[in-house]
């Protein structure tokens, strides 16, 4: 579904991605793990077109998307849940969800999808008319995921959904991620620092270090790999 071939991305002079290649097939949950500053978020930003790569190719369904603007990429069916949630604090939950559906024009479908995400996260129903900024961290993460789902993505990019959340909330959110994947066959690309959790959810995983992919394997193999255990699982 998504093929990344040898991309290089820069933040000013900083060479953040040094020749990354990876493959995501339809229906998979793929995780990208690595330490702070490894370039995980940049990889997502490059896919979304917010930090476009300087060289290399990103192919989505066989078509190059690396030189498209972010809004075009979203309309192709790739949504991102950005790191740190980035919900709109002064807009209400409903308005946030409507922002997620911005490229869509079919009103009845949009309101069906709003009901769908309210089913996924019932707590948001209660908070619907509350400004996003007044929600708790976990609720904000739920809102961020819901907002991204409102664009009806075929590929959902999740950037550290566990960031700063209590373990019980994290588990809840990961269950929902699995549910989204199995119910709608939505492909999920999950970037995480919580490697243990991410590898338990994912089918396959990539390990990233200082701008390069250093390992690629099925999630089970990565979980039992000694180097991964030592570096990322703390075992």
């Amino acid at each position: 579904m998504l093929k990344i071939r040898n991309i290089n991305s820069y933040y000013g002079n900083i060479h953040a991605l040094k020749g990354i290649s990876l493959d995501i097939s339809e229906g998979e949950i793929i995780t990208l793990i690595g330490a702070n500053g490894a370039g995980k978020s940049t990889t997502l930003m490059s896919i979304s077109g917010i930090v476009p790569p300087d060289s290399g190719d990103i192919l989505y369904m066989g078509n190059p998307i690396h030189s498209m603007s972010p809004d075009k990429i979203v309309s192709l069916g790739i949504s991102q849940v950005p790191e740190g949630r980035r919900i709109f604090p002064d807009l209400t939950v409903m308005e946030n969800l409507h922002m997620g559906a911005f490229p869509r024009t079919n009103k009845s479908q949009v309101s069906n999808d709003i009901n769908y995400v309210f089913d996924l996260f019932p707590i948001l129903t209660k908070r619907r008319n509350q400004p996003g900024g007044t929600l708790s961290g976990g609720e904000q993460q739920m809102l961020a995921i819901s907002r991204a789902l409102m664009a009806r993505p075929r590929l959902l990019l999740l950037d550290e959904p566990s960031l700063g959340l209590a373990p019980i909330i994290v588990r809840q959110i990961f269950d929902i991620i699995k549910k989204i994947n199995s119910e709608h066959n939505t492909t999920i690309f999950l970037v995480e620092q919580n490697a243990n959790l991410a590898l338990h959810v994912a089918h396959r995983g990539y390990v990233m270090e200082t701008g390069k992919i250093v390992m690629e394997d099925s999630a089970d193999n990565l979980l039992s790999n000694d180097d991964v255990k030592k570096a990322y699982l703390g075992l």
């Binding site: 919900i87 709109f88 002064d90 309101s111």
Partner: protein, 405 residues
């Protein structure tokens, strides 16, 4: 109620002010007679004045802190009234009818002088509402808004001078040129935000003014353009008095159009995109909103109204020169938006009424105009940072019962 502590603090403030103002208020050097006058009585006035002011200041601050939100007697009931108006359509309609009656009756009951002032107020309401799109909704701090006003004014003046074009043709031309210049400014500042954006827009405003001032062959330089024709109606020319009344009604209609369009924009798709852009640019892009188009639309639509207001200004004064388009104007329009409440239409209207009418009716205190202006701004920032009438966005209620919205 009055605590000793408070009095002590105010006493310190007054001592401090007496010390600070000592050189200018007390010492008076007469260079001709080479003597120094010591005006000790001034020291007493400064002391007493600052003591009283500081005491009241503390009193109001404390009241605000202790939860009594009625810190200023005028303002809080005002937002209550606004809330009531929103919820009670009957009251709202009555108010609109009363306002419409006053607006129509105004030019026939008051003198030409009053009508001219009111026209100015309406002009600034239009400018404020235009800038409100850029600053209030899209959150792009534009300090060079007056440039588009100048573009509008000069487009009418020059078209009228060279080709004898009438007001009615120049009005849309001014609007289009305003929008064009808005996009022209928008392109280079797409990547900028906050302070940097403010600096570039400030520069843009100055560039336009300097061009008008120095390009003599084009704009006639500082001497400006005079004898611009007033608007006519189907070829009928008016006397001075009826022409100012006519202009008053033209601008009333245009202000109503502005309010209507801005209100629709605010609750439209692009309005929501602007609000999202204001709150979080990256999230906005991740939602599939075209940042470039959204920003340019904000600049263009904001500048359109300034262009139109410029045409009206030129028609109203019949004489323009670059001195009318200084940074001070930009600052005034921005103050109207900020004082009234960013993003709020009634706020901008009230802001324009206060900031334009106040200097007109307080001409006796014209020396202290800037002082008063500053004082109002400081008071507002302390007691009501969100503006007099803050923005309340429409909430959406459309699901569960299916698609009803």
């Amino acid at each position: 109620m009055i605590k000793f502590e408070e009095i002590k603090k105010s006493l310190f403030v007054s001592l401090w002010f007496m010390f600070l103002t000592f050189p200018i208020m007390v010492i008076h050097v007469n260079p001709i007679d080479k003597i120094v006058n010591w005006r000790w009585d001034n020291l007493l006035f400064v002391g007493c004045g600052s003591f009283i002011l500081s005491f009241f200041w503390r009193y109001f601050i404390n009241r605000k802190k202790s939860g009594l939100r009625q810190s200023s007697p005028v303002i809080s009931p005002l937002s209550n009234i606004m809330a009531r108006l929103r919820n009670d359509p009957k009251l709202f309609r009555t108010l609109i009818a009363v306002l419409a009656f006053i607006a129509v009756a105004f030019p026939f009951t008051f003198s030409t002088y009053q009508v001219t002032i009111m026209t100015t107020v309406l002009l600034y309401i239009m400018l404020g509402l235009g800038l409100n799109i850029v600053v209030g909704l899209a959150g792009l701090l534009d300090l060079g808004y007056v440039a588009f006003y100048a573009v509008g004014a000069y487009s009418y003046a020059l078209l009228n001078y060279h080709f004898g074009l009438s007001f009615w043709i120049a009005l849309p031309v001014g609007a289009i040129l305003g929008a064009f210049f808005g996009i022209l400014l928008g392109f280079p500042v797409l990547r900028l935000r906050g302070d940097y954006l403010a600096i570039v827009t400030l520069g843009f405003g100055e560039i336009i003014r300097l061009i008008l001032e120095n390009w003599n062959d084009f704009s006639f330089g500082p001497s400006g353009i005079s004898n611009i024709s007033r608007p006519s109606l189907f070829g009928i020319e008016f006397s001075l008095k009826s022409s100012s009344i006519f202009l008053y009604f033209i601008i009333i209609i245009l202000v109503l159009l502005t309010i209507f369009v801005v209100n629709r924009l605010q609750h439209s798709r692009i309005g929501r995109a602007w609000v999202a852009l204001r709150e979080d640019e990256i999230a906005c892009q991740a939602m599939g909103i075209d940042k470039v188009k959204t920003k340019l639309a904000a600049f263009a639509l904001g500048a359109t109204w300034a262009g139109m207001a410029g045409v009206i200004f030129a028609a109203k004064t019949t004489f323009i020169n670059p001195a009318s388009f200084t940074f001070h104007e930009s600052a005034l329009i921005l103050s109207i938006v900020v004082l009234g409440g960013m993003g709020s239409i009634p706020g901008v209207i009230l802001g324009a009424l206060i900031l334009i009418l106040m200097p007109e009716y307080l001409r006796a205190f014209s020396d202290y105009r800037m002082l008063l202006f500053g004082a109002i701004m400081v008071l507002m920032m302390v007691f009501r940072p969100q503006g007099i009438i803050s923005d309340v966005r429409r909430t959406y209620e459309l699901d569960n019962k299916g698609a009803s919205g």
